[in-house]
Symmetry: C2
Subunit: 394 residues, 2 copies
């Protein structure tokens, strides 16, 4: 009696989530200390102390019926204005509350954006490897995901491949920078290149093509890199942002969509984003955390903790002969499996109580993803298991 | 460039939400004191004091990375277990965490349920007048809403009309008890009657038909009534619940879907509900408020405040000659307009700074809805405006 679409996807349910649940089962069986769960991008770094302080200040000083009540579908006006101001200061723009729609995390933001722009049979291009959940958001609108390869090694987008993949049906291109699952960071030449290809193809085909810039890892970077802000490079852009990683609030589902004044049909697009929040049923982003965000725009998590994790695990794996690009952002390592069959390799890892996600989930078989947003001591304890795993394939 | 579906619904965007925004504009213009906004069901009664205490206790004693982090898509195991226990105590059932999926409010719950069960061209029956947002949730899955009349006056479902409306395409019937917009409460004979009609028609047609029981107003009742719990009457039932009204947390988007062990294909249905939370993009219900709910299962808002509002406004309107059934639950009055054209009447009310919603939004032209979840003093101040409005049509 379940729907045909759901029946079809029952088998291919999220590998990551299934792993997360399997990790919990293994932990119950062998003790949490003895299971090395690298499957889910669930931040282990504490939210900044400002979060707790902001919640307390709101509960002590703001009207509770307002704090916990409905507001416009797009979010509290003052919160959206504060976020617009924050973007303006950081990226030299001129946005206001009308450019911002608060969303239930980046996932909710992507869902709202795709509902706004996608018709059945439309195509959405992304670069493989890509975050597997994109499939569900796009399929939910009857549209098709088209995966374009990156240059293996650097995992930077292949611009020629992008150009040949654009068709009259192309409605949008999703960019995820810094990238999940590779940790790659796209610098200005890549961003400019993508914008140029799409401007050229839009012109050629007489269509508008949107860029959807999925930015939840924007602040999780390890080198002194300036990540270009897509609104400064391409007018038909949706920025989808979440505070899940930058403030370690993944479970609170708080983020936003930002659009520039120059986007085609601004008024209609803005109104549709608000309407989509209603039709999807979530109505508005959680109210208390909207107000928390407005008070925590200058807060950040300690990215140094992730960097220490990255260095420990990257160096160890490199020493064991694993092939992997050193990530500059996010908190993932995307590693070449020691056999071509990534799913079989991931199963083999489980025998050592190591949980990782096969590359095929990210549209890139032959690799696997490690989420190293776990404790340093857990990574230290896992080092022997990694050595034993490598030995199995020597 | 927006999608065809969105383009189509741009005009028919939520009347209620548009009113809410219009109310804010009028308030800015004439001062909040001089605008009588009865358009939105946004609770004005404060959340119970236990909410603030629970938040503080959680922040002081629970691990912040757990409190604000991801959990299973369906929600924290311990929270779901606590909610199941609460249902068991109240309604004599035997549920556990596996029967509960935490959702982003009742809207999120309905969206997840419909995504789980609906194929394009399926039919969902509801009783008019009905909550207008159902249209969006159903249309979003390509299915069709079929409105069956109630007995005008009592607004109780017309069971004969229900029986003739069931077709081989009928996938579900939504019940909203207590009802938005009428405030009607369905007692046991009505609930049993609906269950019997659907059992008979399922048998006859060889199909399964679900009941979706949309229960956010369950605790907002004014008389000594025992509201029947649908899980005790019909096995293929989804209970969709939210703490929006019972704890005045509408903006926090926290609720759940409950299914009985006896529902057809239990395992698949439970898994699909979890998957749907992901594909819709909201991933999980907000984490802090899941934990708050587990600590506040015995809390409630002061329903007496709404009752006082109801009595003041109902008696005043009855005295002015308005026709209206006295509501036994929820916080709405559904009143016959003084002219057949409800939209024109609502426009006329605006001239007196009264904002109400036309009955056509609820599939019942000729009426209008008053949300009296506003302050007593505001209702007192509005009395003259209501008198002047009535006078306009005498």
């Amino acid at each position: 009696m379940i729907s045909k679409k759901m029946r079809k996807s029952l088998g291919g349910s999220s590998v990551i989530r299934a792993m997360f649940e399997e990790g919990q089962k293994l932990s119950a069986l062998y003790g949490e200390d003895n299971v090395y769960d690298f499957s889910l991008g669930n931040p282990n770094v504490e939210p900044p102390a400002g979060i707790k302080k902001a919640i307390q200040a709101i509960l002590d000083t703001e009207d509770p019926t307002m704090v916990h009540g409905y507001m416009n579908n797009s979010g509290y006006e003052d919160v959206r204005e504060a976020i617009a101001g924050d973007i303006n200061r950081k990226y030299g723009l001129d946005l206001s509350s009308r450019n911002i729609v608060m969303c239930v995390g980046a996932g909710g933001g992507l869902s709202v954006v795709f509902k706004t722009i996608l018709d059945p049979e439309d195509e959405v291009i992304t670069f493989a490897p890509f975050f597997g959940a994109y499939r569900g958001y796009i399929a939910d609108n009857g549209a098709n995901l088209v995966a374009v390869p990156t240059h293996l090694g650097t995992f930077e987008p292949d611009l020629k491949a992008l150009e040949s993949a654009v068709t009259p049906k192309t409605k949008a291109v999703i960019i995820n920078n810094p990238n999940n699952p590779t940790g790659a960071v796209y610098r200005e030449p890549v961003i400019k290149g993508i914008a140029e290809v799409l401007a050229k193809k839009s012109e050629e085909l007489g269509t508008d093509i949107y860029i959807v810039s999925d930015d939840p890892y924007r602040e999780i970077i390890y080198e002194d890199i300036k990540i270009p802000y897509m609104l400064n490079y391409y007018k038909n852009t949706f920025i989808v942002y979440s505070y899940s990683k930058s403030l370690s609030l993944a479970g609170e589902r708080i983020g936003y969509v930002a659009i520039p004044n120059e986007i085609a049909e601004f008024e209609d697009v803005a109104q549709c984003l608000g309407m989509a929040t209603r039709d999807i049923g979530y109505t508005n982003a959680p109210s208390l955390f909207q107000r928390v965000i407005a008070r925590c725009l200058n807060e950040s998590v300690d990215v140094g903790i992730y960097k220490k994790n990255r260095d420990l695990l990257y160096n160890h794996l490199a020493g064991l002969g694993f092939e992997c690009a050193k990530p500059e952002g996010a908190f993932y390592l995307f590693v070449k499996a020691l056999i071509p069959d990534d799913k079989a390799f991931v199963e083999a890892a489980k025998k050592h109580n190591i949980l990782v996600v096969p590359g095929s989930f990210f549209g890139c078989p032959g690799y696997f993803r490690i989420a190293y947003c776990t404790s340093y001591s857990k990574i230290e304890k896992s080092l022997d298991a990694w050595r034993a795993l490598a030995k199995d394939f020597k």
